[in-house]
């Protein structure tokens, strides 16, 4: 029986199939794109303290404080299959107990249509840079990298590391907490 309802049904089903095909096409047009852009990171101040870590093993642990500058042009990452970027700055370093430590210091969400020129001066880290021991003091090679998750309309959720990272040594001595 060909009724109004059966015609509406086939029309709706066909439209949905076409829409699914278009969404897949949107994914295919952007699937092989290189989403790396150069990032300029500059650390302006490093401070190291040795404080009680109440969350951890109840010992005094190393706590780092960083102030950094960040500049990058994120415009080339955005296209019609990008809804937002989740940027995060992570520190990577090796200690005696662990070959690879990764700590996220700062993050930011950039929505589509927002300002894509990243130009930040003297930003303090958002999250505590705690080591699970005393691995930060006199650590010669702590690498800061800006990475991002690309949140798409359709398809995979790529995790991209920005090209351009900075490595810095940490101070040999702790900053003593002044009592006022």
């Amino acid at each position: 029986m060909n009724t109004v309802l059966s015609r509406a049904n086939s029309l709706f089903a066909f439209s949905l199939s076409v829409m699914a095909a278009l969404t897949f096409g949107c994914f295919v047009t952007t699937a092989f794109k290189d989403r790396r852009v150069p990032v300029d990171i500059h650390v302006s101040k490093v401070m190291l303290k040795n404080v009680d870590d109440f969350t951890g093993p109840r010992e005094r642990s190393d706590l780092g404080f960083l102030t950094f500058d960040l500049s990058s042009d994120l415009q080339p990452i955005f296209d019609w299959n990008v809804k937002q970027l989740f940027l995060y700055l992570s520190a990577e370093y090796a200690t005696r107990s662990n070959a690879l430590n990764q700590v996220v210091l700062w993050d930011k969400i950039v929505l589509r249509g927002e300002n894509t020129k990243l130009n930040l001066r003297d930003v303090k880290s958002k999250y505590f840079f705690f080591d699970d021991g005393n691995g930060l003091r006199a650590n010669k090679n702590i690498t800061l990298t800006l990475s991002w998750n690309v949140v798409p309309n359709a398809g995979i959720l790529p995790l991209v590391a920005g090209s351009g990272h900075v490595s810095l040594p940490f101070p040999e001595s702790y900053e003593t907490t002044k009592s006022y």
């Binding site: 009724t3 015609r7 095909a21």
Partner: protein, 102 residues
């Protein structure tokens, strides 16, 4: 309530059904191609979706109601044969059957 809807004539003839199907498929495919290209150019997938939705609405209007263009090839049914013209030899058999049934 339902009988009111059923009393509205909504059928199409067979050629009309085929034509309606071709029309809505054509409209949606064309709007999909236009929307994809436009969305790709202005880098907004939302506009692709809007253009396909517009094609959907247009084809709904064009093919859901039984417009006269879908009813131009009505089936030519055999004309109703009056009962008196039936062959007389079959009549007694039918009468027998009816009697048996009763």
């Amino acid at each position: 309530m339902l009988s009111i809807f059923k009393s509205i004539p909504s059928h199409m003839d067979y050629k009309g059904q085929k034509l309606a199907e071709q029309i809505f498929q054509g409209i949606i495919l064309i709007s999909a191609v236009i929307g994809f290209v436009y969305g790709l150019i202005i880098e907004q997938f939302g506009w692709t979706v809007y253009i396909v939705l517009a094609g959907f609405v247009v084809s709904c209007v064009l093919t859901l109601p039984p417009w006269p263009m879908y009813r131009q090839n009505p089936l030519s049914w055999q004309p109703i044969i009056p009962e008196t013209s039936a062959e007389p030899s079959q009549k007694p058999q039918e009468a027998l059957k009816k009697k048996k049934h009763k």
